[in-house]
Amino acid sequence: MKSSIKALLLIVATSFGITGCESRTPEPASTNRPAALEGQLPYNPLAWKAITAWTNPRQGTMSTLYGNDTAVTHVRSGSADPYPRNSVLAVVTWAQREDPHWFGAKIPSHPQSVEFVTMPSTPEGQPVYARYQGSPLAQVQNMDTDTVRKNVASIVSERAAVMP
């Protein structure tokens, strides 16, 4: 008698157990490990402030433009003047992946590149451009001057996203 009750309880418990296993659960909380910046970079842009963001749907990438304090103060003022001395801008571009928590969202996956534009310390100087790619991120050497000029012009022309 007793053992049959036990058996019954066991059956009930396991059937509930099975249904429990079948139910969906959200992916547990964690940091976004693939998106971390690995490699030797001159600055850590993630410690800076954000200026704006954009996506490139054809390449499936998303970028955030960061700046050091000098650069951020300048660009958020909306000033038409060139960036002041010692401003540094950084564009981090990540490949996108689907957000496991929300169908309808894409979030950063592996970093594709980190670009830095350092403003000259003298009025005659030119901005210095550096690009880091690969895993771990490493500086790209011997970039042709045309590409460099184009990239600098486009990064410097970005305006701040409205953040009231």
Binding site: S30, T31, D99, V162
Partner: protein
């Protein structure tokens, strides 16, 4: 000799329980299926999925099984149906604007994908209502079919440009911002916080930056993010996606900024987080009254095991 009275008491108790059980069968709250006034317009395969898994609680076409009609199950079921209909009713949804309907469907799909809907206590007894991977694929395909690349829209650009000018010129004057209806005050410093992540939302064509205050940044570097420590504050700013001539999309007009403030005592009734949202460059507090947080909690509830936080923070801010 001793077991006799015990046995008698037991018999009485069983009898009493049985009589009680019979009696409550007659206490039945009124349950009706109101008329279907504006049913969801969707392809048959999509409706089949929703009808099979959701309509019992989210439509005016509830079909109770025989064991749902037995008390006390009946009470619980009718309560779920009443609440379910109040949150989402596929028999009346078509009267809402198309964009809002789409937003609701995305939320519905995600509640199902995260295992929050159909309610697990319901699928335990109604296993056929469980949502399968194929069902999810049908809903996803319907909501997000392959689409051509978006093209630039001059009106969106013009709106963003004029808003930018307004913001640049207003930023000198200090804007006074009213608190949210639940009393949470604005955090003007969010724009200087660390970026925790970004999201590209193809469901509503927005770009978002999620910021975290210093407490959040430290928690990330120490990998102590579930639960998040007291004093954590997240800000999420959203912009329309503005398409450039080269096909890239950028942060266009600012839509809103919203916050989650961790204080387990103060905000115990909303899962330990205080919620607040301000809309537009003039930062109008969102919500008629403090009950606006139900909306936030309802949609963050499926990730309650992750301390109600959706974002996977990128590490390395410190």
């Amino acid at each position: 000799m001793e077991s006799r009275p015990t046995a008698r008491i037991l018999t009485y108790l069983v009898l009493l329980a049985f009589v009680g059980f019979l009696a409550i069968q007659f206490v039945r709250p009124a349950f009706t299926n109101p008329p279907v006034t504006a049913e969801l317009q969707a392809p048959p395969e999509v409706k089949r999925v929703l009808r099979n898994s959701c309509y019992d609680c989210h439509s005016n076409q509830t079909q109770l099984l025989w064991f749902d009609r037995i008390q006390p199950a009946y009470w619980l079921v009718t309560k779920d149906v009443e609440e379910g209909r109040a949150h989402l009713n596929f028999s009346e949804i078509a009267k809402l604007p198309a964009a809002q309907q789409k937003g609701i469907l995305y939320e519905a799909l995600n509640q199902a994908q995260l295992g929050a809907m159909p309610l697990p206590r319901y699928t335990m007894l109604h296993p056929r209502a469980r949502i399968s991977d194929e069902d999810l694929a049908i809903l996803k395909n319907y909501l997000h079919p392959p689409a051509p690349d978006p093209s630039p829209d001059p009106a969106i650009k013009a709106a963003a440009d004029s808003q930018y000018d307004q913001w640049i010129h207003a930023s000198q004057a200090s804007l006074s911002v009213a608190p949210a209806p639940n009393g949470i005050a604005y955090f003007p410093g969010y724009r200087d916080w660390k970026v925790v992540s970004t999201t590209d939302r193809f469901d509503n064509h927005t770009l978002r930056i999620i910021f975290g205050n210093d407490v959040a940044a430290r928690a990330i570097s120490e990998h102590k993010i579930n639960p998040w420590p007291q004093g954590t504050v997240f800000a999420k700013a959203a912009w329309t996606q503005q398409v450039d001539p080269d096909g890239n999309t950028r942060a266009g007009s600012f839509i809103q900024v919203e916050f989650m403030v961790k204080d387990s005592q103060k905000y115990a009734s909303t899962g330990g987080w205080g919620y607040a949202r301000w809309r537009g460059v003039d930062l109008k507090p969102y919500g008629k009254d403090a009950a606006f947080t139900n909306e936030c909690v309802g949609c963050h509830n499926p990730v309650r095991r992750n301390d109600y936080v959706y974002t996977f923070p990128i590490g390395g801010q410190e």
